[in-house]
């Protein structure tokens, strides 16, 4: 079963004017392949938004490991920026998480 997500967004190097924002996100998802003998069930699309604006759009396959963990980097950034990550799988299930940059 697809479950909760966890995310952490931090400014690289600390301070208020960082070079970039590190985004680390965990998605609870079986990511089953056809080879496993189970029904194919995997995340296909991931969207990353920074303050409501789409900054990364990804398409992935069943080759991504179970309970996917991704790290992304966004240009600049400031404390309190809102980062949202959402996913959509091949069965139409979806989930999202929002956090403020710490």
């Amino acid at each position: 079963m697809a479950g909760p997500m966890k995310m952490r967004a931090t400014l690289a190097g600390g301070g208020t004017a960082a070079a970039h924002t590190d985004v680390r996100v965990l998605m609870t998802h079986p990511m089953t392949t056809a080879q496993s003998g189970q029904a194919l069930h995997f995340i296909q699309n991931i969207t990353v938004k920074q303050n409501g604006k789409t900054v990364i759009e990804a398409e992935i396959s069943q080759a991504v490991s179970r309970n996917p963990v991704f790290s992304f980097r966004l240009k600049g950034g400031a404390k309190g920026d809102k980062i949202e990550v959402s996913w959509l799988d091949n069965k139409g299930e979806t989930n999202k998480i929002e956090t403020a940059v710490a």
């Binding site: 970039h20 990511m31 089953t32 392949t33 056809a34 080879q35 496993s36 003998g37 296909q44 699309n45 969207t47 990353v48 920074q50 604006k53 789409t54 900054v55 990364i56 759009e57 990804a58 398409e59 992935i60 396959s61 069943q62 080759a63 991504v64 490991s65 179970r66 996917p68 963990v69 991704f70 790290s71 992304f72 980097r73 966004l74 240009k75 959509l88 139409g92």
Partner: protein, 143 residues
């Protein structure tokens, strides 16, 4: 309203929810060879580049979770694709970096066996690639 135009309207209504869903490149992800996967993402003949950095273990003991960190210093990199050449379906992902994102991604992938991992970077309408071999002791496609 003719029957044909009614059908056309119904067709549009039915097609609408699908268009709301994000796109997924079925042709490229369904490809069973690296050549077809590269063709599917519009990168049939990428130029070799040393400006793509692939950071991954030389030997992955567990093919179910192989960490790969990728970055491109090619100016104007707008997307990066990961192709695991010997996997049953080689294309593992394609990441589009819009204004505000750096061309960097770290992810965990499954690898069925020892394989070259090819990373394709898209920049300014051109395609570049770099490969790195990752040896796998226990395959991970059953997960």
């Amino acid at each position: 309203m003719t029957r044909r135009s009614l059908l056309a309207v119904l067709g549009l209504l039915l097609a609408k929810p699908l268009s709301v869903l994000a796109a997924w490149n079925e042709q490229a992800f369904g490809a069973k060879t690296t050549a077809d996967a590269l063709k599917g993402i519009g990168a049939s003949a990428p130029s070799p580049s040393k400006d793509i950095v692939i950071d991954a273990p030389q030997i992955a003991e567990n093919g179910a979770v192989v960490p790969i960190e990728i970055s491109s210093s090619i100016p104007g990199t707008s997307a990066i694709a990961v192709v695991i050449e010997k996997n049953p379906f080689p294309l593992a992902g394609r990441f589009e970096f819009k204004e505000g994102a750096l061309p960097f991604v770290k992810l965990n992938v499954k690898m069925g066996e020892t394989s070259d991992v090819r990373v394709v970077a898209f920049a300014g309408g051109k395609q570049f690639s770099a490969t790195r071999e990752i040896k796998v002791t226990i395959g991970g496609c059953g997960g």
